[in-house]
Every structure is written in C-alpha cells, then in structure tokens.
C-alpha cells in the first residue's frame, strides 16, 4: 500500500510522517520516530510492554493503527520523565528492584503513571489490579509494589516541601 501523510503528536511534538495506513503505532514510534522505549513482547496483545498513553489513557501501541491516533496526544515512556530528571516512580523502580531486565519496565511506567494520576493513594489490591495488564517475567511483581509505595511517599514529601 502507498504511504500517506500523517501528523502525529507524540510527547508534545508534532511530527509529519509518511506511513502506510496499515502501520501499527508501535512500529511508527520505534522505526519512524526512534522512540524505542516502547517494546514489543508478544503478538497477541497480551503483554503490555508497548503501553502508551493516548489522550491520557493507557493503550497498547501494538494494537493501534498510527492513523487512528491522528489528532490525539500520545505519550511514551520517553515523555514521562519530569524536567529532565527521573520522575519519582522511575527512580523508585530503580531503588526498590522494580526493574530487572527492564524490557517490560516502560509499559509499567506508563501504567503506574496513569494509576497514580487517577488514584494518588491506591491500596495494594488496587495496585495489583492496575498492573495486571502488564506481564513481567523477572520480578514476580513484589518489589514493584514497594517501589510504587515509595514513589507515593516521595511525591507526598515533595508536595509537603512545596507547601
């Protein structure tokens, strides 16, 4: 199929791209925009490694056509660090062992970021439930919960100093 022009907004920047209508968002992010943070781990929309935010909602970039996202704001893992430094959740994942091989981590970063946006103080059960669309094969998830709790604490402290 012939390529067509598309304007895609990713991490706050608008990109004009020529892509095939059948191109998946994940391939466009990785190949056309060199945003390789989002990963492909499966072929049946089951693993969550490619999770990105589309207008603030987590979605699988491997199961979206890039063209379907025209006019929407896409945020990838590369777009969630704050002010050039690690967001609290990214730092906590490192400190608490939330990431081992790291391949699933970008997907988790997006999922956790969204969780804390809609529910700043989740219970452990809510965390488990929110994370259940992202598979990890290294950690057994346990250390992620500690990381998320630590990130929440850090955020609270940060807020306290601002006040």
């Amino acid at each position: 199929m012939k390529k067509e022009l598309i304007e895609l907004r990713v991490n706050g920047l608008t990109h004009e791209l020529a892509i095939e209508p059948s191109a998946l968002l994940l391939d466009v992010l990785r190949r056309d925009l060199d945003l390789t943070g989002s990963k492909r781990g499966c072929d049946d929309s089951s693993c969550g490694a490619c999770t990105v935010l589309v207008d603030g909602t987590p979605m699988l970039a491997c199961t979206l056509l890039a063209f379907s996202c025209e006019g929407q704001e896409i945020t990838t893992v590369e777009g969630i660090s704050e002010h050039g430094s690690l967001a609290a959740i990214q730092k906590a994942y490192g400190d608490w062992g939330g990431a081992q091989c790291g391949y699933c981590t970008p997907g988790f970063m997006i999922t956790v970021k969204h969780l804390l946006t809609v529910n700043p103080d989740p219970t452990e059960e809510e965390i488990r439930s929110a994370l259940s669309g992202n598979l990890c094969r290294c950690t057994g998830y346990t250390q992620m919960y500690a990381a998320i709790k630590a990130a929440i604490e850090a955020e609270k402290k940060g807020m306290a100093t601002l006040k």
């Binding site: 199929m1 095939e20 209508p21 059948s22 998946l24 072929d43 049946d44 929309s45 089951s46 969550g48 999770t51 909602t57 987590p58 979605m59 699988l60 199961t63 979206l64 056509l65 063209f67 379907s68 999922t111 439930s129 929110a130 259940s132 669309g133 992202n134 598979l135």
Partner: protein, 333 residues
C-alpha cells in the same frame, strides 16, 4: 508479524460509516477497539481491502438514560463504541444493571478494556486453539473449517465449526434481555441480542456485510435485578473466559420471581439457559434448587477442546458457578 495492506477509512459520523460500508460491502471490515481484529489480521485470518475505523464517531460513544420526553423510563442505551472501562465504572449501570459492569470488569486486562468496546465484545469473533494461530501454524495442521480448510480438528469428521464464543458481556446482556440496534443503508433494525447469534462457530452472528452495530438497549424491565458474572480463567487477568456464567435474579417476599442464567465460552454462541425461570420461579432458594439450576446450566453447555482446560472441567464449572451464583444472589443480603 505485519498487517496485510488495506485502505483505512475514517468516517466522522454514523451516516458516513454506513455509506462506506454499503460502498465496500464484502471487502471491508469494521475496526472499533481493534483488540480482536488487529491480532487476527496479523495472523492473516482477515485481509480486507478496506478497514472502517470507527474511533472518530463520537455519537457512537456513551451511556445514556432513555427518556420519554422529560420522563426517565428506566431504560438505558449504550453506544456501541463505548469503552469497556466506561461500562465497568458506570455508576448508572452499577446501580441498575450491575451484572453488566460485573462482566465488563473481568474482560482481558485494564489496558485492553480501555481499548475494547461493548460493540466489539458483542461482535467478538469465535475462538478456537486451532483457529487463533498464525498462518504458518495453521498450515501445519492443514487449516480448519473456520478458515482456509475443510476439516474440524475439535470434532473430527464433523462439518460444523465449534469455535467458542468468548465474549464476557454478552452473557450479561442476554440476562438483561438486551436489544441491539443495527444500521445499514437500508435502514435501522432493532433485534433482541438473543437472536443475533446463529449458534455456528464460523458464521456466528447475523450481521450483513453492510451492517453496523450502533447501540445496545437495556430495558427497564431488567433494571433492579441483582446480578453476578462468574468467569473461569487460569490467570486473574488477561485471559479470555474458558467458561462464563451470568445470572440475574429478582425476588419478592423471599420467593424467586424471575431468574435468568446465560453462559458464554462453552458454545459457539452465548446462550440463555432455557427453563431456569420455570425451574425456580415462585420457590424459596435452597441448596437443592441451586444445585438443580447448576445441573440445568451444565446441560446447556457444550464445551469442546477449543481452549485450555478440558471440556468436562469447563462444563463442571458451569454447574458449580451457576449453583453458587443463584444461591448467593438469592440468599445474600
């Protein structure tokens, strides 16, 4: 695995969508959430010339009370493109049609519920381990009757496809006596969801090539039933159902007035268990009657080796889940 090439059509209105469907009928497939279609297309199960992307049609989204003038008539309509997450979290549905959000919250995983739609869940392709595989894999088994072949590996010698309907919400919707609205260039028709499915694994739904599912209606008569959905799966997330039971129930003065039981993932269509109301209406719930309802449901289930876990186990779970569901709905306060 790459997608086969196609032309993407992105209408902004239902009318536009219907016109495009009429224009390309037979060479077009409808893309809503994409969570079923796009993986299937990568497996080369479909290679349409056109893909009709509904994502931009705002009028197909949303959960609304139906009104007659200014009067709330107790019924609800749901746009076919409403995300499953929105069904799951809808206060309106939770209050009046709780079995539906109860089923919706079990679908796949949170991120897939953000993408998947109620219309897509109703129209979900039937599934089978011999069918939902890559082209390369399917070649290895000589293909199957549902796609590219003339054999069934599940019921050898048969000419019928037994792929299992594996949506969760249709079981709930059947219990709620839901209707769906189907639009085409020829006009709009409204059918009971129970009549939408054929019971065949391959040609599993009655939706013509130029038709679009646009809305789902929940009647006032089903509002206020207590309901529950029980799903058999191996993991607590991600998995399609291996068996599913939806039950709604209404009592008065401690006696059962109305009970509906519907099954999914154990037949080529979601099915209402016939005779459940007749069995239980007017009775006071006991373990024995719950057991009888379970046995009746299990008789309706016809699971085959289309998925993981043995058919006999899946049928047994239909019995167990139904028994527990009717008993707890009738006895818990």
């Amino acid at each position: 695995m790459s997608l086969p090439g196609f032309k993407l059509l992105r209408p902004r209105t239902t009318a536009e969508a219907i016109a495009l469907l009429a224009q390309h009928a037979g060479n077009i497939r409808i893309l809503a959430g994409g969570t079923d279609l796009l993986p299937s297309m990568q497996q080369k199960l479909f290679a349409p010339q056109y893909l009709l992307d509904l994502r931009r049609i705002a009028e197909l989204k949303g959960i609304r009370r139906q009104r007659d003038g200014a009067v709330d008539i107790g019924a609800v309509e749901i746009g076919a493109l409403t995300a499953l997450t929105d069904i799951e979290h809808s206060d309106l549905l939770r209050r009046h049609f709780s079995v539906l959000p109860d089923a919706a919250k079990t679908i796949a995983s949170p991120v897939l519920r953000n993408m998947g739609t109620i219309g897509g869940n109703i129209c979900l392709d039937t599934r089978c381990l011999w069918y939902n595989q890559s082209l390369q894999w399917r070649k290895s088994c000589g293909f199957c009757i549902k796609k590219d072949g003339d054999l069934c590996h599940v019921a050898p010698g048969g000419t019928k496809c037994w792929a299992a309907f594996s949506g969760d919400t249709p079981a709930a919707l059947l219990c709620l006596d839901a209707e769906i609205e189907i639009a085409s260039a020829a006009g709009i028709r409204r059918v009971k969801l129970a009549e939408f499915y054929t019971g065949l694994g391959d040609n599993y739904r009655k939706l013509a090539a130029d038709e679009l599912l646009t809305r789902v209606f929940l009647p006032a008569s089903s509002a206020g039933h207590r309901g529950v959905y029980r799903k058999l799966r191996v993991r607590g997330s991600i998995d399609y159902p291996l068996a599913g039971v939806a039950v709604v129930l209404k009592q008065s003065n401690g006696h059962i007035e109305d009970v509906r039981v519907a099954l999914t993932a154990v037949n080529p269509a979601p099915v209402l268990v016939k005779g459940a109301t007749e069995l239980l209406a007017g009775r006071r719930m006991t373990e024995e009657w719950a057991e009888a309802a379970g046995v009746l449901a299990a008789q309706t289930a016809k699971p085959l080796t289309t998925s993981a876990l043995t058919p006999e186990y899946r049928r047994e779970m239909i019995r167990v889940f139904t028994k527990h569901a009717v008993f707890s709905l009738a006895t818990e306060t």
